[in-house]
Symmetry: C2
Subunit: 407 residues, 2 copies
């Protein structure tokens, strides 16, 4: 497997576009389309929030039906959540407008929205956007980038990733885009992610594989522990690589899953590293936990602690806050044996050893923590399980952005 | 029941003191003592964090033994958590130093610590503090205030409360103090709370009553969702009011429990309203939930949401964030019927009705949210249960305080 420059148009047969529809923002792209002429098998994972946005309900119904699709249309600016039946109607109109422009059925068009909760969409921008998107559809690198930019809200950079691997003599590609910066605590945040591939795979297997991959990628990131009403990750597989259909238990499957996991993890890390107001990516690896479930609980408890996040912002090696967050994670363990280590491009340093202060240089620790990507490694010494979670620091700018998001 | 000016010396027979021991801080009180000549029945609730401070382990052992006590000694500056056997020895020495100064047994002295995790205490300040505390012990209002001040860390105000009620012709008093500003998400935070009463009550009944009261008071507040390693709430009852022993099922018991709950809620609200860097007390009442457990889950999910907390800081009526936090609380409900209302001294306004935008003036909402105490009322329309949780806004100053707490 090899990483390549690209996004949702990297895989054969996929086109994309971004357009200025005027959904809510002015003078910026706010509507995106991903399209495949060849019908694609579709899998998706969605927010588990009880309050679900209209597009989430629409996609869940389509995907559980198992039928292939042609497109995903996405908008930023308005989340279409807490909008009742009126919101559901606007969402259906968004799918219908794209379907009409592209001469497919509305039931072959998935939807996704991100932005302010509680506000209604308007029909004019939707229809204008659908026309513009259809005109701009293209399989170029630029088209993928335009789509990735159109779904940004408080994101500061667009997020894309693509890889290529070989299966049965064919080049298979997976490419994706995502957005997400605030309200990020997926189980599924408002994270939106669209991944396309020209692999050939059945719908049930794709859905099962996606669910497993999401557990170890998107569901391991958190910006603010606020799980969104709109989280959506969909994968479209159109088979255009010409490969034979992927079967579970084969090398082709293992390679596909590895490649999908890589793309999902890269997109997930890009979201965590672009968390609202953040200056650093925080990676927390918990080793030797009693079980994988506990390793995940422990690592996420550290990435979601406001006290850890502010300490990382301040380059303060205050490891007691990490010990504290591990302690309230819900996992049972012996705090008297664990080690905590900081690592970055500037070095590696054990700050807690066997449950107590390791005796270290505060200056050295602070220097390590000043990097743009900081890793915390916790050795529980309880078992063999390991997990990694990703988050970011908590800064003045997070408060600034969210103290006045809507204006 | 009537609220009176006072703290831990309000009840008969209780003395208190605060002293400059030099534990970690300079030129400020950092050690406190609460003492009763008459042995007192003791009840306590403690952090459920797996990582427990040395004084927590000490108190849990003493209180589970059921024996009466003479004193509680507390220090600020160093939490004595993650300090291993050495830390346990220092903690025992702190109890022993106070026991010697006051001519009681060390097993009759409860302990509590708050401050930096991972740092060891030193014996000289402990011994100096014990001597100074014994000399300063007094039953005056000032002595109670000195004790309450000595346990502050990042608190900006000391926290005390006292009430008096009548039982069997006797005046019974309950007074308490607490500290807590950061790492506050009790189940039990570093919150420390000592409540004294001259009521006469058995140990088992006092413990049971305290546990129930803590559930509806301290355990309903959160500053940063970080549950401390040191949370401690102890109640001492010395019987000096001269009343007959309180029996469950009597009016005296109901009055006692009501008075204890009042004191605990007042102390809890004072902590939430003095959260690190905060400008506002946030109260969230969830009405008509399906069960009390769900009402508590729902209300706490709102008070602990960073996005809600920053919106409240910014006086932004962004109710979608409240709906979102309710949705990921873990409670099951129909989001299509609920109402959300803001209330403060400046008015009351419904912003969400039956699951969608109620159509309201942003200006009016913003004005209501500009008060120092803001209440969010959520009507779930699912059942009869109700709960209230308390928190605070998330501000630049929280980031400032915690980006560099230790220096």
């Amino acid at each position: 497997m090899q990483q390549i420059d690209g996004g949702v148009t990297a895989a054969k047969g996929f086109q994309a576009a971004g357009a200025e529809a005027g959904i809510k923002y002015k003078d910026r792209k706010d509507m995106a389309l991903v399209f495949t002429e060849e019908l694609a098998v579709a899998a998706g994972t969605f927010t588990t929030n009880v309050v679900k946005a209209a597009p989430v309900l629409w996609d869940q119904q389509l995907i559980s039906g198992g039928k292939p699709v042609h497109a995903v249309v996405l908008n930023s600016g308005i989340a279409n959540a807490c909008t009742g039946e009126e919101g559901a109607a606007y969402n259906e109109q968004m799918a219908a407008a794209v379907a009409e422009a592209c001469a497919v059925k509305k039931e072959e068009v998935l939807t996704a929205s991100t932005g302010v909760i509680g506000m209604q969409l308007r029909i004019e921008p939707i229809q204008k956007g659908a026309r513009l998107l259809k005109e701009a559809l293209s399989d170029t690198r630029e088209a993928a980038r335009a789509a990735a930019e159109a779904i940004m809200t408080t994101d500061t950079v667009s997020k894309e990733c693509a890889v290529v691997f070989e299966a049965g003599g064919k080049q298979v590609r997976i490419g994706g885009m995502s957005k997400g910066s605030g309200m990020i605590h997926p189980n599924m945040a408002t994270m939106l992610s669209v991944i396309t591939t020209d692999a050939r795979i059945g719908q049930e297997l794709l859905q099962k594989t996606l669910r497993s991959v999401v557990e170890d990628s998107f569901n391991m990131i958190s910006v603010d522990r606020d799980m969104s009403t709109n989280d959506t990750c969909v994968v479209l597989a159109n088979g255009k690589s010409g490969m034979d259909e992927i079967q579970e238990g084969t090398k082709a499957y293992d390679d596909f899953k590895e490649a999908l996991l890589f793309v999902a993890c890269e997109l997930a890390k890009k979201m965590a590293g672009d968390g609202e107001g953040c200056t650093k990516l925080l990676e927390v690896t918990v080793k030797h936990a009693a079980s994988e479930e506990e390793a995940k609980l422990l690592s996420k408890s550290v990435t979601t602690s406001n006290l850890v996040k502010t300490a990382i912002f301040g380059c303060d090696a205050n490891w007691g806050r990490i010990a504290c967050a591990l302690g309230y994670s819900g996992a049972a363990f012996d705090p008297g044996v664990m080690d905590i280590c900081y690592k970055s491009e500037y070095g590696e340093l054990t700050v807690m050893r066997n449950g107590v202060d390791a005796g270290y240089s505060e200056e050295e620790a602070s220097n390590i923590l000043s990097a743009e990507a900081v890793t915390v490694i916790v050795d529980m010494k309880q078992g063999d399980a390991e997990a990694t979670a990703w988050g970011c620091d908590l800064t003045y700018d997070y408060v600034k952005i969210n103290g006045d998001y809507r204006s």
